[in-house]
Amino acid sequence: MTGRGAAGAVRLPSDRWQIWDTALWLVPVAVYFLFPGYLVLGSQVIITALFALSLDIVIGYAGITSLGHAAFFGLGAYTAGLLAAHGWGELLTGLVCAAVVAAVVGYLTSFLVVRGAALTQLMITLGVGLLLLEIANKATPWTGGANGLSDMTVDKLLGVFRFDLEGRTGYIYSLVVAFAAFVLVRRVVSSPFGLSLRAIREGAARMPALGAPVGRRLVAAFTFAAALAGIAGALLTQTAQVVGLEVLGLQRSATVLIMLVLGGTGRLYGAFIGAGLFMLIQDYFARRDPMYWQLWIGCLLVAVVLVGRGGILGIVDALRARWARRRAP
């Protein structure tokens, strides 16, 4: 990928699809056939991974400290829920509406966030997230309050496939949408815009001296991430046909942050690995002993921060680098 090409020209690493990209994406496909009883959980993992991917844009690429990303997830979820509850069950327009609503709120919020220091960013994102939670909690005639919305019907996928109880349709739907989003994010991240985002994260002091309008770039990134989170939220509502307060709030924001950090920020697959491992282990442990589950997650989190290797993918990268050094003379 790097190094000199055929004509001796210097190249940058390209974003061409590689073998292990295909291999990694074959895993959820294989799951569909190998574990037909776990497809509902599988959809949730995929949706959460998409949510984590959107957070990666904020934290891993734009470098904004956010504890309120669930706000956009929740906005998308409730938008899709409200549409479906009021008779508009069409899926793709539901996704689009959710993305638009989340993007608009994200855009407005971004101005508050891009100017501040890390602590201010934290508080504002937290504040906005909690504000929305309170609104959802109190606006009972609209949102169902603490009970949420459950009386909704969604159309059949592509007019043919009904959402079945085993979750087969939901799984395929989520997987396809997540894949499309992933391809888009991958392209954006490897674009010049993506490079400038990485540079802002690495050296925000230098960027204005390069003529880059840092604020504008961050606003764009934040809005994009909000839209993606909204799509993830809408997916959840559409596949589960229910939406409640737990799509909002500190718990969800903190959890997705932990997943992302465990998997590795700034590396797109970190979101998927983190979400996958976290939710699988949680599904196993949390039912048995929620207290110990919390204890181990806490310890793991502390370990990840102290060791500072950038999560699982960070360790993988470090190992690869060491292996490459050993192979080179």
Partner: protein, 262 residues
């Protein structure tokens, strides 16, 4: 001010009027009037703490002045944000390397070029497919002797190469006015002359102001020298005039003398 200059006045690239910056009660820059004609190669010298870097920060817009104006060409840029001044051709380097630790050398320079050409806004195509910026970046790196480390991540570069990258980033922006803050510091003596030769070889319509402590480099490459002491412009003139000026010798000798006395 080039008062008494006989020839017709050259167009002015950069000018300040009564530029002041106050931190608390101290005037770090005090009523600075500086004029750089187009194509000038001026040096700014002065003891440590004289306010040279602050002046550059004011010129580029890192913070607003307490009073005074900055004019780029004919335009008053005093209220403009830094990135807007860069777009108009006012570029600087930093005294302390201010780079992108996780980006490679090539990526950094490509980014600078993309910012200049407006390509940096593009989000739908991989940056590896933009041949022109990459080729331009590669050529610039070769010119500055950074070709061999093009794919090295910045944080792994030796200090001297980082300094060169600092300059490469500025040159990639095709500046009209270039402000260099101690460009040669940390670069081994032989290479620093090379760097200055690259700068001296810049087109005649590029204006350069460099802060330097190495008097040899100042004498070799500067047409005029401005001396900043305690926030004020002490004097300005050709290198020979400055060298002969007793006040300047006082300031520098005074410094060395007090160092010797401990």
């Amino acid at each position: 001010m080039t008062a008494g200059a006989a020839a017709e006045p050259r167009p002015v690239a950069l000018r300040t009027e009564g530029l002041c910056k106050r931190w608390g009660v101290v005037y770090v820059n005090d009523r600075i009037d500086l004029t750089l004609p187009v194509g000038a190669r001026h040096a700014l010298i002065g003891p440590n703490g004289a306010g040279k870097t602050t002046l550059v920060n004011l010129l580029t817009g890192l913070y607003p002045p307490t009073a005074g104006r900055v004019l780029l060409g004919d335009t008053d840029v005093t209220r403009l944000a830094m990135h807007e001044r860069v777009k108009r051709g006012l570029v600087r380097t930093f005294q302390i390397n201010t780079l992108f630790p996780g980006l490679t050398v090539l990526e950094s320079v490509v980014l600078a070029i993309c910012e200049r050409t407006g390509v940096a806004r593009r989000w739908a195509r991989s940056v590896a497919r933009f041949d022109a910026p990459i080729a331009e970046a590669a050529a610039l790196l070769d010119r500055l002797g950074l070709g061999s480390v093009a794919h090295t991540v910045t944080r792994n570069l030796p200090y001297g190469k980082q300094r060169l990258l600092e300059i490469a980033l500025a040159l990639a922006l095709r500046p009209k006015v270039l402000l260099l803050d101690e460009p040669a510091s940390g670069i081994p003596a032989g290479d620093s002359t090379e760097v200055f030769e690259v700068i001296a070889a810049l087109p005649g319509d590029v204006t350069v102001l460099f802060i330097e402590h190495d008097m040899e480099l100042v004498f070799r490459f500067a047409q005029r020298v401005a001396v900043l002491v305690d926030g004020r412009l002490l004097t300005e003139g050709t290198p020979a005039e400055i060298a002969a000026d007793p006040r300047v010798r006082d300031v520098y000798l005074g410094e060395t003398a007090s160092e010797k006395l401990g």
